[in-house]
């Protein structure tokens, strides 16, 4: 049992990698679609709306299966240059996770911007701030503060979501745990250790967000 611990820690690196990369790309995807959502061009609005609707409305497991096993069945994709990306389980997992977290993030950003009170913007206008100034000095800080609690949740969900990478052959924390169980037949002990490692990572994210929340708390 004890000798399997280093293997689990080693696998944690992949879990962290998947989480951080997906969240990083997800923030850009989320911001992009949040901006589209405010667009007055109807088609752009609908693209953003249905993207978020579809990726929030289907299980992450289904999404990763469609991207990995589903797209692997498409002949012209296999013959195109894109196959370099879709051939590897690693990049398929990143794509699936990014698109999934991007959908939630876009909703978080959208609602954060929508909660900014009109009075504040009018005050900014009254002070003679231009649009760029208003965005970076007023709108963005308020939006970040608003979205932090929800985004912290999303980070934790994404961390746990990466466990599905094991379903497409990746040896992340869950994947290695399953691998160890398949030879030791001791699911309880191994999953408790793996679960504790997830808990520790969640604890770190939780406190990181807490610190940020304090930093952006302007009422103090």
């Amino acid at each position: 049992m004890i000798e399997s611990f280093p293997r689990l820690l080693n696998a944690t690196i992949l879990t962290i990698e998947l989480t951080l990369l997906s969240l990083l790309f997800g923030v850009f995807v989320g911001a992009f679609f949040a901006v589209l959502r405010t667009s007055k061009v109807k088609i752009l609005y609908f693209i953003s709306y249905y993207y978020s609707y579809i990726f929030r409305g289907t299980p992450l497991l289904v999404q990763i299966f469609i991207i990995y096993f589903g797209l692997g069945q498409v002949e012209w994709l296999r013959e195109s240059f894109l196959w370099v990306i879709f051939k590897e389980p690693y990049s398929c997992a990143i794509i699936a996770f990014t698109l999934n977290t991007g959908a939630y993030t876009s909703e978080i950003f959208r609602s954060a911007f929508e909660t900014i009170q009109k009075g504040i913007l009018e005050a900014a206008e009254g002070l003679g701030l231009n649009k760029i100034h208003t965005f970076f000095k007023i709108k963005l800080p308020i939006a970040i503060k608003q979205s932090l609690p929800a985004y912290g949740n999303e980070m934790i969900l994404m961390l746990k979501g990466t466990s599905l990478a094991s379903t497409v052959t990746l040896l992340d924390l869950t994947g290695v745990a399953k691998h160890i169980i398949s030879t030791t037949f001791r699911p309880i002990e191994v999953f408790i250790v793996a679960g504790s490692i997830y808990l520790l990572m969640t604890f770190i994210i939780h406190n990181f967000i807490k610190i940020l929340e304090k930093k952006f708390d302007y009422s103090k």
């Binding site: 069945q73 296999r78 051939k87 389980p89 691998h179 037949f185």
Partner: protein, 284 residues
């Protein structure tokens, strides 16, 4: 104790009773339902295949009522240990590693393993004997393993997780191969056909069955493997003798299965079912 509490506790108790197979006299047999032709599911979700038919025959011989339940392969042995069912019939080979945790009846059928590739693959031609028995060993086996090691170097070989095939690839007998593990054989087949795997290793029949049903040009390459890491045939997996009434019951179950397999073999039932499902007599 409040009335609600009583109802709640009795509900929990009855669920626990129902879920412990040890209480009922019925035999519960666990199978995967995803490893044709050993065990599989038809379009409407019913369990079918060689072992499903054989289980019914063995239960008839034992004069016991049986239910066959489905269990994911990677949780098969833990589920047996947790008494979710009493016996495993899931194309599970009898290996020394598994015998550390569970016990097996005598073997009822044997399968050879083989590598498979897509037609036209660079691995298509390997100069090896037709069959390699790792238990026998010798210069021929060594030479064959060297040939395979050279052919597979740096290649991605796909297998189902927690199988003899995975153990073999990770044993070092064929050098350092990039092993990719999947939850089911179906997924191995899909990724082999998609070109994500350079080769795959499983029971030879698992590939021929897939090639036939899907029309994909999956072909067997290299020798067939048996012995050593590949175990000594497929048997019924049963819990090791434990304490108390349940322990005694497991010991009796093992005896009953052994007797029933003897009888079924003598009557030609196993051969008949094997020919029906495999196309050849895989019985033992």
């Amino acid at each position: 104790m409040s009335k609600f509490k009583k109802i709640f506790l009795s509900a929990i108790a009855s669920v626990l009773l129902l879920s412990t197979s040890a209480i009922a006299d019925k035999i519960k047999i666990g199978t995967e339902g995803a490893y044709p032709p050993w065990n599989a599911k038809d379009a409407s979700g019913n369990l079918i295949g060689f072992e499903v038919d054989l289980a019914k025959e063995l239960c008839t011989i034992m004069g016991r009522e049986c239910t066959i339940v489905e269990q994911d392969w990677d949780g098969m042995i833990p589920a047996l240990l947790m008494r979710k069912f009493d016996a495993i019939m899931a194309g599970m080979s009898i290996t020394a590693e598994r015998q550390k945790t569970i016990t097996f009846s005598q073997g009822y059928a044997d399968e050879v393993a083989s590598l498979a590739v897509m037609k036209g693959s660079g691995l298509g031609s390997m100069d090896t004997p037709e069959g390699v028995n790792l238990s026998i060993g010798g210069a021929d086996v060594k030479k064959a393993l060297t040939t395979i090691t050279a052919a597979l170097a740096g290649k991605t070989v796909c297998v189902q997780t927690a199988t003899i095939h995975q153990n073999f690839l990770e044993s070092g007998d064929v050098g350092k191969v990039n092993v990719r593990t999947y939850k089911t054989q179906d997924e191995v087949n899909l990724d082999l056909a998609a070109g994500r795997c350079d080769a795959a290793l499983a029971a030879a029949v698992a590939f021929t069955d897939y090639a036939e049903k899907s029309g994909k040009s999956v072909v067997l390459v290299g020798p067939t493997f048996s012995g050593g890491a590949f175990g000594n045939g497929v048997g019924v997996g049963i819990r090791q003798a434990g304490d108390g009434a349940i322990g005694k019951r497991d010991v009796k179950l093992l005896k009953d299965f052994n007797k029933a397999i003897d009888k079924a073999r003598k009557q030609g039932i196993i051969s008949e079912l094997a020919i029906k499902h495999f196309g050849f007599d895989a019985s033992m």
